[in-house]
Symmetry: C2
Subunit: 138 residues, 2 copies
């Protein structure tokens, strides 16, 4: 059911500084930051093997990532696992009593369908499931 780690989300105070850190010290290529106004964030990605690291900086202190930073400081924010069939995965989790943030898929960046499990139900790890629009990409 879990095909791969799709990305890890890192909450950062300064996305330019964090991107520079990974570019200078680890030789990765970080994409251009994009603002996602609805979520109150600026985000960018870089590849590591079959996965990506997503750097996320809040644009407002009252956004979820803004509140996270205030409470916990910079660091790991969430993991996203790629799944083949998100609807089926959510249905199974719900039937098993696993606490979900999103009971139905939402559409995220690039048309991917995604949903979050509640960290309380997943041993403290904010866990996202992602289904890519073109399954051939998986």
């Amino acid at each position: 059911m879990l095909e791969k780690i799709y990305h890890l989300g890192y909450a950062v105070e300064d996305i330019e500084a964090a991107a520079r850190f990974y570019e200078e010290h680890f030789g990765v290529r970080v994409g251009e930051p994009e603002e996602i106004e609805e979520q109150g964030i600026v985000a960018t990605m870089f590849e590591v093997g079959e996965s990506m690291i997503e750097l996320v900086q809040p644009t407002r202190p009252d956004s979820p990532v803004g509140k996270f930073l205030e409470k916990r400081g910079e660091g790991f924010h969430h993991v996203a696992f790629q799944v083949d069939d998100l609807e089926a995965a959510l249905k199974g989790l719900k039937e098993n009593g696993v606490e979900l943030i999103d009971e139905k898929p939402r559409v995220g960046a690039g048309g991917a369908r995604m949903a979050f499990l509640h960290p309380k139900g997943a041993h403290g790890v904010l866990t996202e499931l992602v289904e890519l629009p073109d399954k051939d990409q998986g």
Copy 2:
């Protein structure tokens, strides 16, 4: 330099319960827990794509993972990236002024050479670099 995400380490209160969670709800196969007395932990792994998730339960409250759990609760503990040449990676990071926990490689489970960067120097993420003994495995 970063070949792939080798594993994510999750700190858990009860490794059997956490293993059951991932087995029952995500269909993964979790290995037998092993005690690593020197680190004051019991750990086990399961595969996700080319990566692994490591579940780590402290065996003593004064071990690093025990202190982490007391302070932050269950959740993401560290990420390990596989690198080709750990000595060269550490040398470069040190020359660039990146704060390291281990300036020299240590030998971890299965003969892998590993070293930790300090989370303060890596935007709050406890980051491990791993070089596998048999490079053909990478």
